[in-house]
């Protein structure tokens, strides 16, 4: 069987990183506040979280960057931090990275309490990949990484640089000046830089911002390989498909934290479960067909021949609906569970915020 180049590349990256076998999809544990579902810890002790944030706020004068934010991130978890521009995502990352002092609240980063005195110790255990790669364009890729290896006081600098560049598939460009690289390649160098110190927590701030689809796909593959390796990743993004694909859990921030949970949990929390039915023509009396079916709580006609059914349990309702439609002599064109994307969740929350501000 022929494998797609993406699959082959992904396997190559995972092999180069020495990644363990990816868990079966159904058994992949999700970390976070729920310690029962947390995966085995990879960078810290079992009873700790990689990040614990409690009522953290930051104000710049009168302007509130973020307010009363609380969440936990487990070791080995990929945690998505979503929000519109200006929601406070980057400021949250900078605060947890000790670049910005919080106005109130507390946090523990990689097991170390967040404080100005602990800044160097925290920064030694984490990495932040800012939105802009911030590379020295006249220096080569290797020289850029050598500088940062020195700043982290790392040993085996040559070996670490080689492993980091291999991980991002850039070993053959090691001697090129960074100014000669495309934006996507510079982003990869920045990711290699962030991997140099084997961080306990890796913060990725909008890692695919401004990248074309191919470069975006490459960065996604790298994040997937890091996830498989068990690296704790805090990913800020406003690309919802990116969060849905890469993250175990997501948080939605719009100055205040609106929701935290697995994408499917958030969908369930915000939207009623529903079935979408399409039949040829229209039902003569849909009330009779859908009225007393088990698991069906209500219905409405969405278009000619189209019906949306509110259900409590799609597994019970769908077969009953199919049988009822056949009994009624309807020609079924489609019968499917209504799927809400993370984007629907996001837009719903942001719309609520906009409405609240109007009021």
């Amino acid at each position: 069987m022929r494998r797609s180049p993406f699959v082959r590349k992904r396997r190559l990256v995972a092999a180069l990183l020495g990644a363990p076998m990816a868990p079966e999809p159904g058994t992949q544990a999700v970390g976070g506040a729920d310690s029962a579902s947390r995966p085995s810890t990879l960078g810290g002790s079992e009873d700790q979280s990689a990040l614990v944030v409690e009522h953290l706020s930051k104000r710049f004068g009168e302007r509130v960057a973020f307010d009363d934010v609380s969440f936990e991130v487990g070791y080995g978890e990929v945690f998505g931090f979503l929000g519109p521009n200006g929601a406070g995502k980057t400021t949250t990352v900078r605060t947890l990275g000790t670049l910005v002092a919080p106005t109130s609240g507390s946090a523990t980063v990689a097991g170390i309490p967040l404080s100005a005195e602990n800044g160097p110790a925290i920064r030694a255990r984490i990495s932040i990949m800012p939105e802009s790669p911030g590379l020295y364009r006249r220096l080569t890729v290797t020289e850029n990484l050598e500088c940062f290896a020195g700043l982290y006081e790392l040993d085996d600098v040559g070996g670490r640089i080689e492993r980091a560049l291999r991980a991002v598939n850039l070993l053959d460009r090691a001697g090129d000046p960074c100014g000669s690289l495309s934006k996507g390649l510079r982003q990869r160098v920045a990711l290699a830089r962030a991997l140099l110190n084997d961080p306990t927590v890796l913060f990725l701030d909008e890692p695919t911002s401004g990248l074309d689809p191919v470069a975006t796909h490459d960065v996604h593959e790298l994040i997937v390989s890091l996830r498989e390796r068990g690296v704790t990743i805090f990913l800020t993004t406003h690309r919802l498909e990116e969060a849905e694909r890469l993250c175990h859990r997501v948080a939605i921030l719009n100055t205040t934290l609106r929701l935290v949970g697995r994408p499917d949990e958030l969908r369930e929390r915000l939207f009623n479960q529903a079935l979408e039915v399409r039949v040829r023509g229209s039902l003569a009396d849909p009330g009779v067909v859908f009225g007393d079916l088990p698991g069906v709580d209500g219905w409405q006609e969405s278009s000619s021949g189209g019906y949306e059914l509110a259900v409590s349990d799609p597994g019970i309702a769908a077969p009953a609906v199919a049988r009822a439609l056949v009994s009624a002599g309807a020609d079924i064109l489609s019968l499917a569970e209504s799927r809400h994307s993370l984007e629907d969740v996001y837009l719903q929350l942001i719309d609520e915020d906009v409405e609240a501000k109007r009021r």
Binding site: R94, P120, P130, S132, P133, R138, L139, E146, C147, E153
Partner: protein, 244 residues
């Protein structure tokens, strides 16, 4: 965490590599010293050996003052670029995300400016002395090599450079625009040069004691300047641009 010379070295090496590949920096570093060596040598070679002692001293003083312009002016543009330049090219935040302390960052930056400045300043001074010894009238040459002149040059070169570097970095750490930082930095490098000028022109009678006294004052100002710049270096303001 202790002060780390490994991190200072990382900044220093990175800066020197960056200078080496920057034609503007190389050009500035090469061009200014050429001017500053040409003018004093012309001064020296055009003065008559029979000139009055006071005129001779004044000429030698002016010649040596030109040489002190090198450590005063050469570092000002580089040091003014050091922080605001990193910020404008987006490289400051990745640096500040590492465990580096502000003192380590500042010392690395200062050494990176000081190393080429002192190398060039002393090399130019050496060329000047060689030219005086080889081509100037023996009377004029002996005036150049006399007394406190050489000591003033040797001692004040690093002290003036230190002043210019710390003032430049301080301006750079608080500035939001490279051009403004560089202009202010050049202006701020002038005051100590005025004092040295008074000594060279013998408005203040030069003596070893006076030279050492002024050197001690400049040294103290340099050390305090370093402390002051470290206190002014505000990570949060530099990263976010917000006033804190």
């Amino acid at each position: 965490m202790r002060f780390s010379w490994t991190r200072v070295r990382a900044i220093l090496v990175k800066e020197l590599r960056d200078y080496r590949r920057n034609r503007f920096v190389i050009g500035t570093m090469a061009f200014l010293p050429v001017i500053f060596i040409a003018a004093p040598i012309v001064q020296l070679l055009t003065v008559s050996a029979s000139a009055a002692s006071s005129k001779l001293d004044a000429r030698v003083g002016i010649s040596l003052l030109y040489l002190l312009l090198i450590p005063a002016f050469l570092p000002s543009t580089l040091s003014a670029y050091s922080v605001v330049g990193e910020r404008e090219q987006g490289t400051l935040e990745p640096i500040l995300i590492t465990p580096i302390r502000r003192e380590e960052f500042l010392v690395g930056k200062a050494l990176a400016v000081a190393a080429p400045t002192l190398t060039i300043a002393y090399a130019i001074f050496g060329i000047f002395l060689a030219a005086a010894a080889l081509f100037a009238h023996p009377g004029i040459a002996s005036a150049v090599f006399a007394g406190s002149h050489i000591l003033v040059q040797l001692v004040f070169t690093p002290l003036l450079a230190g002043w210019s570097i710390w003032v430049g970095i301080a301006i750079s750490a608080r500035s939001t625009d490279i051009r403004v930082a560089q202009q202010l930095s050049v202006l701020a490098s002038l005051p100590p040069l005025g004092i040295v000028a008074l000594m060279q022109f013998k408005v203040i009678t030069p003596s070893t004691g006076l030279a050492l006294g002024l050197a001690a004052v400049l040294l103290a100002v340099d050390v305090l300047g370093w402390r002051a710049v470290a206190a002014m270096f505000d990570r949060e303001r530099l990263v976010t641009g917000a006033r804190t």
